[in-house]
Every structure is written in structure tokens, then in C-alpha cells.
Amino acid sequence: MYTDKVLDHFRNPRNMGEIPDADGIGTVGNPVCGDLMSIYIKVKDNRIEDIKFKTFGCGAAIATSSMITELAKGKTLDEAMKISRGDVASSLDGLPPIKMHCSNLAADGLHAAIQDYLKKKGAEK
């Protein structure tokens, strides 16, 4: 059902955990629907210096969360904002059609974390 890459990221998730002093946190999804993910970012010089995730959900939800942390790490905020759901799915060699919208929330989570960072930064000024 899943590609080898999905299973690999499910089995060995990259950057799993929380960042206690995160600069931005994005939480998307809903446990009622079976998927909830939180993305934590640390930003330095407008770049994502560190990123971690925590996810409740199916194999696809965990694998896409793991993949987004790999795609976003080291990117500028502008570059990271351009990472789409499709990029995440294709980096995993595809997802089953039914999982494309329900469990492919990781890009939204990343974007929410960046927006949270920008909002907090704006408030500081």
C-alpha cells in the first residue's frame, strides 16, 4: 500500500520530538479526524535552523511529518513557505490517493509554524 520511502520514514522518523524554546509552532489537523501534527521551528538569520515534529495519525501522517522536516531544514523562510503538499508526497515517491488530502498535512503544519514565528516576531517590534 505504501512506498518504501513512506515505510522508511514511518519506521525511522527524522527529527521527531519537540523544541522546548521553539520560535514558531504550527499545529494542524484534529484528533477527531485521526490526524494531528505539531511542527516546531527554530529560526536563525531568516533560515530554519532546527525543526522537529510530533504527530498522532496513520503511517502517512507520520511519514509526511518526518519528510517535511528534512525538506525544510536549512531553507530560508521564503523557500520553506513554497514547499507544497505535492512536494512532500513526491519526495516520498507518492501516497495512496485516499491519503493525499487527509494525512498530507505536513506542509500546512510547516507554514503554520512559520506564520506563528512571523507573528511573534512582529509583536516583538
Binding site: 505504501y2 515505510l7 514511518f10 519506521r11 522518523p13 521527531m16 499545529t27 484528533p31 477527531v32 479526524c33 485521526g34 490526524d35 494531528l36 501534527m37 505539531s38 510530533k54 504527530t55 498522532f56 495519525g57 496513520c58 503511517g59 502517512a60 501522517a61 507520520i62 485516499i98 487527509c102 494525512s103
Partner: protein, 392 residues
């Protein structure tokens, strides 16, 4: 080689080798049509009637003519519900069923609603037992049919069928019982239980797929769905699937002979699995009735994590089971059965269904009990819902 453990017998069962052996001659040697006048038809015709008698014997039917072969449990249920509703329209347009039925009951009922029938879904308690008072209240003088599963295939709860049939018959309706999950697992007697119609499936008792049967008590008025050459006394046309039917007959014969001992063995394995998991995994629970449940069914629930990722993790260790999570369904909704017994969506997502079978051993059960705690722990470490103190 890594140990492989199959505990998903509700999804599919292996065909018993004795069943397969009984079927084989009917593919290429004894291939005649039972309706033929010439001698090629003689043996297949005998085999067909012999299988019919085996099914009748398994479920305690008065006469083997009350057994009609179909393509499986789903078709039997469709014939029972749509066939009885349509044939008895002159008596009423109301059907009653429960909130935890299989989709092969729910969807025919929904299609009847589109044709102008009314359907009432009776609730169940937190163990999945039908609310008998609500059932009684739901039946009106327009009710022609009530459909209740003997036991629920997902949470394993066995219904008080005799009490249910007493209520239904007192109110003048007919009772259809979906016995797909129960037949071959626990003793059923359609006469003492007073059942009018009953659906059974071959694969759910180690027979081949693509064959099932409908029991219909003599005199029950049913409109056929599949029409043609008039086989199965006009109720289900189409040349009989003789190899499949022979297989189902053999499966029924074996189930009748071995059910008592095998049921006791499975129930003890089931309890060992349930006790072992509940003891070794914190925040884990049993879904369904603690004692009135199918001997092969253990439906367990784990807080803070999701069932599909549990299945994947178990599969990586060679263990197969099912889940009521939305992520394993085609509808993106968690199991309606788990919601009907009052579980919250997020809890329903975290359910695992183990259904044991003839090949499972105590060693298999112990292997699963040993594997689960680390799997649950790993997924809980990934989940943002897990309370911090649980991770220490």
C-alpha cells in the same frame, strides 16, 4: 525466518485443507451441471444436496430445503432484506435494524429508504448489546422485518437472540439474523432461537470465498433479486457454484464436529491475549462485552495513538490484525460500531481488532503480547496527545 502470525480472521480465513481436498474433484472431473438430465449431472446434484444438508445440520434447520446457496454473506443479506421488504410491501413499509450492523445490512436498508421504505436503527449499550426496550418500541404494525446480527464481527458482542426473536414475533414481524461472524464459531439453532431468515458465509468458517447461504424458514415470502433459470427453487438463479458449495458443506461439517473444542481453545487464547495486553500496556482497554463475545475476538483500544500506524508497526514484525480507525477504511470515518458503543472519535481511531483462528497457538499470543508494549510506546513517543508523565 521471522515468525509470521495471522490474527485477522475476520478479514479472510484460510481454506481448511480438508475443504480444499473435498472441492478439487468438482472443477475438472465432476464438472456436470446439477440440472442436467444426463448422468454427468448426477454426482454434482448429489454433492449439492449433501452440502445443503450439512448447512441445515450445522444451524439446526428443520429441512435442508430451507437452505439457499448464494455468492456469499453479502448477497444472502441483500436477498433477505430487500427480498422480504419488497415481497411484503402489502403488509408494511417499515424495517428495523441496529446501529452496529455490517454494511451489507445498512446499505440495502438505505437503498430501501430511497424506494420509500422507512428504517429505524435501534441503539446498543456500551458493550454493543441491543437495547431490547428500544427494539420493542421501534416495531410498529407496519414493520415487516427486523435484522440483527447474531454476533458483531468487529467487537464480538453476542446478542440475546432468543429474547430478541421473542419480542419481534410477539409484534408480528420477521427476524433476519446476520450470522456471518457467528456461524461456525458458536452453536446456533434456528429452531430453538426462532429465527426466520439467516445469512451465513463460507469463508468465515474456513470454506472458500464466493459462496454463502441464506436460511429461510418454510413459508417466508421473499422476492428474488437475481432472476434467470430458476435454480435454488427460484430464489437465486444461476448455475450452482458446485466446487464452492461442496467446500462450504465440508466446512460446515468440520465446524459442527470441532466447534465445541475449538471454541474453548480460542476463548482461552483470546482471554490470554486480552489479559496480557491490558496488563502490559498502560491506557489500554477492551472494546465490546467482557464475557458475551465471540471466542476468537479481541478488540483492544490504545489511547493517544492511531490504529493504522499500529497495524503497520505490527506488520513489520510479522503480525496481521485490523483496526476500526478511519485511516483503514474507505470512508475516512472511524468504525460506526465503535461510535455506536459511545467511543469518542479519537478513541475509536486507536482500536485494534485481533481475530484468532485454528492455526493460532499460545506461542503466537505470547509473541503478540510481548511485541505490543514497545510498539505502543514508540508511537506514543511520536504522538502530541500522549501525557508527558506517560513518556517518562
Amino acid at each position: 525466518m521471522k515468525q509470521r502470525i495471522y490474527m485477522d480472521h475476520t478479514a479472510s480465513m484460510p481454506v481448511d485443507p480438508r475443504v480444499l481436498e473435498a472441492m478439487l474433484p468438482y472443477f475438472a472431473e465432476k464438472y456436470g451441471n446439477p440440472s442436467s438430465v444426463h448422468s454427468w449431472g448426477t454426482e454434482p446434484r448429489k454433492a449439492l444436496e449433501n452440502a445443503r444438508a450439512e448447512i441445515a445440520n450445522l444451524i439446526g434447520a428443520k429441512k435442508s430445503e430451507e437452505i439457499f446457496f448464494t455468492s456469499g454473506g453479502t448477497e444472502s443479506t441483500n436477498i433477505a432484506i430487500k427480498g422480504v421488504a419488497n415481497r411484503n410491501k402489502d403488509r408494511g413499509n417499515h424495517i428495523v435494524t441496529t446501529s452496529i450492523e455490517h454494511m451489507s445490512v445498512i446499505n440495502p436498508c438505505k437503498s430501501l429508504v430511497k424506494q420509500g421504505f422507512e428504517v429505524t436503527f435501534v441503539p446498543v449499550d456500551r458493550y454493543g448489546v441491543v437495547d431490547l426496550q428500544a427494539l420493542e418500541n421501534a416495531i410498529t404494525d407496519k414493520t415487516t422485518l427486523v435484522s440483527v446480527a447474531y454476533a458483531n464481527g468487529e467487537i464480538g458482542t453476542i446478542q440475546p437472540i432468543r429474547e430478541i426473536s421473542e419480542i419481534i414475533h410477539r409484534k408480528g414481524a420477521l427476524l433476519h439474523v446476520d450470522a456471518v461472524a457467528a456461524c461456525g464459531q458458536i452453536p446456533i439453532n434456528v429452531q430453538t432461537d426462532n429465527i426466520d431468515l439467516m445469512s451465513v458465509s463460507s469463508n468465515d468458517m474456513y470454506g472458500p470465498r464466493g459462496v454463502g447461504a441464506l436460511y429461510a424458514c418454510t413459508g417466508t415470502r421473499i422476492e428474488p433479486i437475481i432472476q434467470g433459470g430458476g435454480q435454488e427453487r427460484g430464489l437465486r438463479s444461476g448455475t450452482e457454484n458446485i466446487p464452492g458449495i461442496v467446500g462450504m458443506g465440508k466446512a460446515a461439517e468440520i465446524a459442527k464436529a470441532e466447534m465445541r473444542n475449538e471454541g474453548e481453545r480460542l476463548a482461552s487464547l483470546r482471554d490470554r491475549l486480552t489479559r496480557g495486553v491490558l496488563k502490559s500496556v498502560p491506557a489500554s482497554f477492551l472494546n465490546g462485552h467482557p464475557s458475551k463475545r465471540l471466542p476468537n475476538n479481541a478488540n483492544l483500544r490504545f489511547s493517544y495513538i492511531e490504529g493504522e500506524s499500529l497495524i503497520l508497526s505490527l506488520d513489520m514484525q510479522g503480525i496481521a490484525c485490523s483496526s476500526g480507525s478511519a485511516c483503514t477504511s474507505k470512508t475516512l470515518e472511524p468504525s460506526h460500531v465503535l461510535l455506536a458503543i459511545g467511543l469518542k472519535h479519537e478513541d475509536a481511531h486507536g482500536s485494534l481488532l485481533f481475530t484468532l483462528g485454528r492455526q493460532n497457538t499460545q506461542e503466537d499470543v505470547d509473541h503478540v503480547v510481548n511485541a505490543l508494549p514497545d510498539i505502543v510506546k514508540r508511537l506514543r513517543a511520536i504522538s502530541p496527545l500522549t501525557p508527558k508523565e506517560m513518556l517518562q
